[in-house]
Symmetry: C2
Subunit: 475 residues, 2 copies
Amino acid sequence: MRTYIFLATVLLGAVATAAQQGAPTPELYSKQTLEEMRRLQAATLASDYAYKQTGYLSNNIGPRLSGSPQAARAVEYVADEMRKQGFEVRLQKCMVPRWVRGEERASVVEFPGMAASSTQKLTVAALGGSVATPAEGLTAEIVIVSSFEELNSLGADKVRGKIVVFNYKFDTELQASGFGLAAYGNAVQYRFGGAMAAARLGAVAVLVRSAGGSQNRLVHTGLMGYTDGVTKIPAGAITYEDADLLAWLAKDGRVRVNLVLTPQKFPDVESHNVIADLKGSERPEEIVIVSGHLDSWDLGTGAIDDASGVAMSMSALVQLRRLGLKPKRTIRFIAWMDEESGGRGSGAYFEEEKKNVANHFAAIEADLGASHPIGINFAGKSEVAAFLAPITAVLSKQGATQLQQQGGVGADITPLTRAGVPSFAPWFDQRTYFKYHHTAADTFDKIVPRELAEGASLVAVLAYGLANLEQPLPR
Amino acid sequence: MRTYIFLATVLLGAVATAAQQGAPTPELYSKQTLEEMRRLQAATLASDYAYKQTGYLSNNIGPRLSGSPQAARAVEYVADEMRKQGFEVRLQKCMVPRWVRGEERASVVEFPGMAASSTQKLTVAALGGSVATPAEGLTAEIVIVSSFEELNSLGADKVRGKIVVFNYKFDTELQASGFGLAAYGNAVQYRFGGAMAAARLGAVAVLVRSAGGSQNRLVHTGLMGYTDGVTKIPAGAITYEDADLLAWLAKDGRVRVNLVLTPQKFPDVESHNVIADLKGSERPEEIVIVSGHLDSWDLGTGAIDDASGVAMSMSALVQLRRLGLKPKRTIRFIAWMDEESGGRGSGAYFEEEKKNVANHFAAIEADLGASHPIGINFAGKSEVAAFLAPITAVLSKQGATQLQQQGGVGADITPLTRAGVPSFAPWFDQRTYFKYHHTAADTFDKIVPRELAEGASLVAVLAYGLANLEQPLPR
């Protein structure tokens, strides 16, 4: 998950349990629909389908960076698998960036106390989209700041020619309290905007303290940005341990760092969203999207971000077909391409469908991990909450009863959200997600089978419920 | 910490609290000694001396692999610091190995489902002392086993020419229950003995699942062994995530791995133990050792293994001097060299002192981290426990009341232990140590100042108590 964070950090209010919203409202969903939702839930909770799909994407295909051979293989695999499950599949073309990580290393080459002919190594990774340093690296004194305000107060005289270290500390207490997304939102601005802010003052590179909650020398990558008219300088992430180390050393004297980052940017390549429809029986032209994103970062294998979201969405269609359940509206599976590196897939979809937005009844994206879901995030009118009560009543059996209204709930569906389409996402327990996501430790072993099945169940029940809603959603 | 593990995994019995051993025994320690122990405790708990020393060794000097420039710098620094604190310092020569980590990378170059022109990267680190692969690496099919028995049951026909993956799972539940050391003992045999066992059956390399409890793609290094008459094959550690990945892939078909490890072994270099005595006022010829080891592994900065142990031991002498407390027996500070890579420092000490063992009244080594100490490990006669009761009564104020008898309590003092010298170590809460030790995440931020001060207090109180004991310890 990536950019909608900028929206999501502003919580718009209304966190309420289903119970607080009164009993299920029978006129919204037929008795049959409610019964079918419960069958769908039971079947999904008992199934290992999503688990196997997540394993295949993570382990047998691996990291699926946008534009990579693995991302192409993932498109092919998911398309084949959905065809095997009896669906017609459409590949929707999009041109995606091709950025390839190169060498990356950094070391402290001057610091108070250092032994002759030694250095201290830093654990570093290029941020996605970063330009390269010279092949032999660049060496410069560092200047450490913990905010944009602090950087700007230093002014160009103290920044010019230096490597700016953004040492904003990820709020692990907020994370432990279940608000990992908010903690991430606060931290990620330096990852995305650090290079631009530092380059404006003449810095030669930036190193950003990892925007994650791990305590294990794990570096957190992710997209960074440049803007016209400001020099593009190399940008890397360092671990929180290395940021602490630099801060310790710098308080006693001059610290110089050698930084080598040699990523390469190639011309855009063709890639695809994978789309498959389960046709609606009564209103086939009205669409409920279930989705996750197929691309991932390249340090880990993208298991929780977001093979799991794709697998939950695949599972929704597959379980419905296995149970012979026919939604009234069309449920559309989409495996988005390029969520992490700019959203070219969702851009292509919106471009094509923008005249058809009115027929997009609802959109769901699962892109916040695969831990135990505690409820549903939604974006749209507050009145939508009441329409979800019968669904959370079903989901209460698996402990997913909370509703939370946010400005956006998933980067790929944000264009639809902005165009007025009621939007939804599984709301997962966030205490662990930001320890692993965008790091080398986003790997399949982090998936707890039962929790993944709970997520798949939530997506399926929510999609089927929305697709069979007897009334239109407020929008 | 390294080798005494082979002893320590056999717990010899008797875990008891001070309370269970009856009230303090006044005739063992004078009232004055008991009062001084309490003053020493209070002063040490209030001091940041050990914290600053740990920080300097970890951050301003860095990884201190035996034979490295940083290890030499650490000897110089600790000697200077102890001189500055008013002690005469002796550097005791030892010749240590010089093994230098090179390039290390591994990738899965053939596996079921892989995309054309792609691989899956493995996170790998050479085990300490490993020979190198060819510069371009070696590529071979893997065979996965979880024990020596399973390996041997396969026989040479199924192992010859292959890379053996030892997939023994570190017991994280045992770790969570506080028995990390036992979990480590069970796992570390494959790290040390894996290459020998696999080479006997014709394997070309080994990869060992990390002998630690991290879940963060953290690779655990440490010493491995070769033996005469068996081919030396390269040995690396992989993370538990990568071991799980290989196991997943191998169940569906052939898996081949390319492994590049290019460490170099140079001739032995001269290094030193750092020794400083606080002379005894009544029996100066009798010695109580306080110690930690100055060398570390090279992936992290050796903060918890074992800058903290050295710092606690420095602190014991420094606090005693600051308080003007004069022990009856000599308290000898030793910062051992080469604990991790073979124990040349402790070997040199024992060689010199073996005729003087009778005058070694007791030996303490702090080498199990820096978390909250819950009591004292000891090796020697069971009757020693009763002599510790007054000390644990003092330490009860900081929650360190447990006694545990073990076969060995610290690698560097094990030669003395075996020669009959009663031996002691702080017994730390072990729930976190094996998540970090020997990994890149053994860094200064893992030190909790209060907990480190508790460890320093325990070492100081224990040493001063033993040095002022009115009776000889049973031996």
